[in-house]
């Protein structure tokens, strides 16, 4: 309970600091929001009016206060750039609400792939006593780890999209229209995200297992008459998972926050793409909320990792 309280206080403090820092950054970076909204041909009067309307004439501290108060009330503000219709600005909440499911589903799919493939692969690898398999896996994982994900994305698009025609490159169905179609469009981007991570995780797990296999309790297990397989799955795996869990946590935080490159390459309307475009158009309210979201996700995932650690290792209290 005390632990939870401590975590929550840390979370609040971090969110506050990060939002303030992002706000400050927006004061410093060059570029005029009003000019970018109205274009170059607007009259100075029109610009002044918009400036007044958006509250740009207030001192920065007041503006931050107003914004923060809004967020605390649940009002995330409106986008400077997108509009709902002719008269209404687009609320940030709605804008993000539209894109978030894409990123979250993409992340979930990637994570499932990573876990389902890398753990058996890692165990198999650690178990293998054939030098050939060891060498082959070594080369493959090394290569996969080294290739940047955008290039992998292009490769996947070319192979499955253009050559095999399993999916239409650049195509996309909204998740509200056709959920399964939506998922199938996410599959290949998910593979692009997952492949390098699978390689890393499998390699990491294998190393961790090899280290653990030298431990005394493994010898004890053999002395009881356990088979190699039983030793690996029954004794070594759980102990070897500890460092891997931390690693997986880092991956989850990374992909839930949006895979900017992969979303860009596959043309997916997710958080990552929104972040890029909002920064380039100085759409401050959107960027602020996205930064808060990412911060929250990272902290929350690490919190989950902490909990998971305690579940896996009874020594941690």
């Amino acid at each position: 309970m005390k632990y939870l309280g401590k975590k929550i206080i840390t979370l609040i403090m971090t969110l506050f600091l990060v939002s303030a820092a992002a706000f400050l950054a927006f004061q410093i970076i060059p570029g005029d929001v009003v000019a970018s909204i109205l274009g170059t041909e607007a009259t100075p009067e029109r610009e002044e009016a918009l400036r007044e309307e958006l509250g740009f004439n207030d001192p920065p501290l007041v503006r931050y206060g107003k914004w923060a108060a809004g967020v605390l009330r649940g009002d995330l503000g409106v986008s400077y750039r997108y509009s709902k219709n002719m008269n209404e600005m687009m609320p940030v909440a709605e804008l993000i609400g539209d894109k978030l499911p894409v990123t979250l589903w993409l992340a979930a799919l990637s994570l499932a792939l990573i876990i389902l493939v890398s753990i058996p692969l890692g165990v198999l690898w650690a178990k293998s006593r054939s030098h050939a398999l060891d060498a082959v896996l070594g080369v493959i994982t090394q290569a996969t780890m080294a290739v940047p994900s955008f290039f992998l994305g292009i490769l996947v698009t070319w192979l499955f999209g253009i050559l095999l025609k399993w999916f239409a490159p650049g195509g996309y169905v909204g998740y509200r229209e056709n959920f399964w179609g939506f998922l199938s469009y996410l599959l290949f981007p998910a593979i692009s995200i997952a492949l390098p991570k699978i390689a890393m995780t499998a390699r990491f797990l294998r190393n961790s297992m090899l280290t653990e296999m030298g431990a005394d309790y493994v010898r004890t297990a053999y002395s009881k008459g356990c088979s190699r397989k039983r030793v690996m799955y029954g004794h070594v795996l759980r102990n070897a998972m500890m460092p891997v869990i931390t690693f997986l946590g880092m991956i989850v935080a990374e992909i839930v926050a949006g895979s900017i490159v992969v979303e860009q390459v596959f043309g997916l309307p997710g958080i990552g793409r929104l972040l890029i475009s909002s920064i380039s158009t100085r759409d401050f309210p959107v960027v602020e909320i996205l930064i808060l979201y990412i911060t929250f996700v990272v902290i929350f995932v690490y919190f989950l990792v902490d909990i998971l650690y305690k579940v896996v290792d009874p020594r941690i209290s």
Partner: protein
């Protein structure tokens, strides 16, 4: 029943076990004794088929009831072994801490043996495990069953290991140093348990140990191993009482034992300075100490009244905070009340500890030194109660002195507060009440594990100079030039019996004994006058142990060194120390002259410690 015939095991071309032949009969306990690296563990692991895959059996074979378990030139056949391991043969390992799977409950780990080798149902398995737990002395069986290894004490963990090994009544039990990692009193219980199991189940036992006392107590027959060869076999009495081989003789000789008396080194040092001993203190029963060339000390100590007077004055003088102030400044001799420094330079204790209680803080509430001091002046009972809320008291009201040139042995089991006390004395733990007065400059420490306590990235020369550099940095008047430091380091290296060519080597290139020599040199290079040695020989082999102890005594004499010697090994303490202090659960329960304590221990616990082993 078990036959090891002409067995040789090699790792990458180097033979570590050479033509070993051993035979083990039903119901017999065979001890294998030898120092580390003698191949005793590899022999046992090969027998169990647990030796690493890098090891090759180059000659000979292993037979279990005429079934060939392992043969030269063939890889380990896991299918045969899997049938035998756990059911017919089992092993108890040295480290119960690491030999149990940390993430599985104890019960489940023992159950696994039954699941692998029997067809019992879940309920039967559980009952059997609980019964076995009872039988190995785990009376709180249900709780142990549901506990993770880290929730059990060292002794309990070893009992769990033993339960695992004996649950199917295997005909062979290999026990590889099963008590080495345990406290003396627990050690005895475990040895007795193994003996009982051997009697009841009539299984053969291969008992591997470096502890000759233990081998003698437990084993019917003993094989002595050295450099991979069996040098001598015979009944325990034959081997230890009438060793036929030189190596066995040396091994038996090297073991510190109160049975042999303190003849060796003490005797020699007595001769060396016999002339000094004549100069007035020959009537003292403590000629031994006089022999060390500090003839005033024993007299002074007998005239105890004077010393206590001094400390009495100091106490009333309200000097406490001043003294500790000095200690914090890292200084030493300092502004101690005038008369004492004038009066008796040799007679005053090098260290006196008065009413010292040490607290273990879990980082939550840190008391300032002032607060601690303030409470130190209150009535103790009140003080401790106040403290109990904030931290756990690990040492209660310690009260003792150490005199120049003297070794005070501190014995007790792990967790009794030995290390906490020594840390408090060195100022590494400030959560104390009471007072500590040093009269030495910069007390130093020699640590237990020479493998991990030397920085592996630095050369020996650099390491030796470090205390000098540190001293120079704290006190400009002690600063030395680089050349002076190097000379001092080389000189020190020679004094600990090491060649100068080691100056530029790194710790990894040295053996354990050499490393411990370096540690000692490091502690002595500032000529501290007082050192704390925390289990300095526990990690070493017996013959090396003997050398290091001899070195210690020699240097102590040369440098007039006072020493607080912490050890769990009663025999080592007996050899090394003039006085002994027994500690139990944070209390010093008995203090006295070594011979006196050994001859007439007052406390039951002391008797247990002394005669248990």
């Amino acid at each position: 029943m078990i036959k090891i015939e002409d067995l040789s095991v090699a790792f990458g071309g180097t033979e570590v076990v050479k033509h070993v032949s051993l035979e083990l009969r039903e119901g017999e306990i065979l001890g294998i004794v030898g120092e580390s690296g003698s191949g005793k563990s590899v022999t046992a692991l090969t027998l169990m088929g647990l030796v690493s895959e890098a090891a090759q059996v180059t000659t000979g074979r292993i037979l279990f009831d005429d079934v060939v378990l392992r043969e030269a030139g063939k890889p380990c056949d896991l299918r045969i072994y899997r049938k035998y391991r756990g059911a017919e043969m089992s092993q108890v390992f040295q480290e119960p801490q690491t030999s149990l799977n940390p993430v599985q409950k104890a019960g489940k780990q023992v159950e696994e043996v039954l699941r692998l080798h029997t067809k019992l149902t879940g309920e039967e398995i559980r009952t059997k495990v609980l019964e076995t737990f009872q039988a190995v002395g785990l009376h709180d069986a249900e709780r142990v069953y549901a506990s993770y290894p880290h929730q059990l004490s060292g002794g309990m963990r070893q009992r769990v290991m033993i339960a695992m090994a004996v649950i199917l009544h295997p005909r062979l039990i290999v026990a590889d140093e099963p008590t080495t990692a345990l406290d003396v009193t627990i050690q005895n219980q475990i040895v007795e348990l193994l003996r009982k199991i051997n009697k009841e189940q009539k299984n053969a036992m291969l008992f591997i140990t470096h502890d000759l006392h233990l081998a003698r107590r437990l084993c019917h027959r003993v094989a002595v191993m050295k450099d991979g060869c069996v040098v001598e076999t015979g009944t325990a009495e034959e081997v230890f009482d009438h060793p036929s081989q030189d190596y066995t003789k040396r091994l038996v000789e090297a073991v510190p034992s109160r049975v042999k008396g303190k003849s060796g080194i003490r005797g020699r040092s007595g001769e060396l300075s016999a002339a000094e001993a004549d100069s007035g203190t020959s009537e003292s029963p403590e000629g031994r100490k006089a022999g060390n060339g500090i003839s005033e000390v024993p007299e002074e100590r007998k005239a105890g009244s004077r010393i206590s007077e001094v400390s009495e004055e100091r106490k009333t003088g309200g000097e406490i905070s001043e003294v500790s102030e000095e200690r914090r400044a890292g200084g030493g001799t300092s502004k101690v009340p005038g008369e004492r420094s004038a009066g008796s330079s040799g007679a005053a204790p090098v260290l006196s500890v008065r009413n010292l209680s040490v607290y273990y803080q879990d980082g939550k509430s840190t008391l300032s030194q002032e607060q601690a001091e303030g409470q130190g002046r209150k009535k103790i009972s009140l003080g401790s109660r106040l403290f109990q809320k904030r931290g756990q008291c690990v040492v209660w009201n310690a009260d003792f002195e150490i005199y120049s040139g003297e070794s005070l042995g501190l014995v007790g089991e792990s967790g009794c507060g030995k290390t906490s006390l020594s840390k408090a004395i060195l100022g590494m733990n400030r959560h104390i009440e009471g007072e500590i007065v040093h009269n030495s400059v910069r007390p130093q420490m020699v640590f237990q594990d020479p493998y991990s306590s030397l920085n592996p990235a630095k050369t020996i020369g650099w390491l030796l100079q470090e205390p000098l550099r540190a001293a120079g940095a704290l006190d400009k008047s002690l600063a030395m030039t680089r050349a002076d430091r190097e000379t001092a380091a080389r000189d020190m290296l020679r004094r600990v019996g090491m060649d100068e060519r080691y100056f530029d080597r790194r710790p990894s290139e040295l053996s354990g004994g050499q490393r411990q020599r370096v540690s000692i040199a490091q502690a002595l290079i500032t000529n501290p006058g007082f050192i704390i040695a925390d289990e300095p020989v526990s990690a070493l082999d017996v013959t090396i142990q003997a050398q290091i102890m001899e070195l210690f005594l020699k240097l102590q004499e040369e440098m007039h060194l006072a020493c607080l010697f912490i050890s769990h090994d009663i025999n080592v303490v007996y050899r090394m120390c003039d006085r002994i202090m027994v500690m139990k659960e944070g209390h010093i329960i008995e203090t006295g002259e070594t011979e006196e304590v050994f001859a007439h221990p007052k406390e039951d616990y002391t008797k247990l410690l002394l005669w248990g082993s």
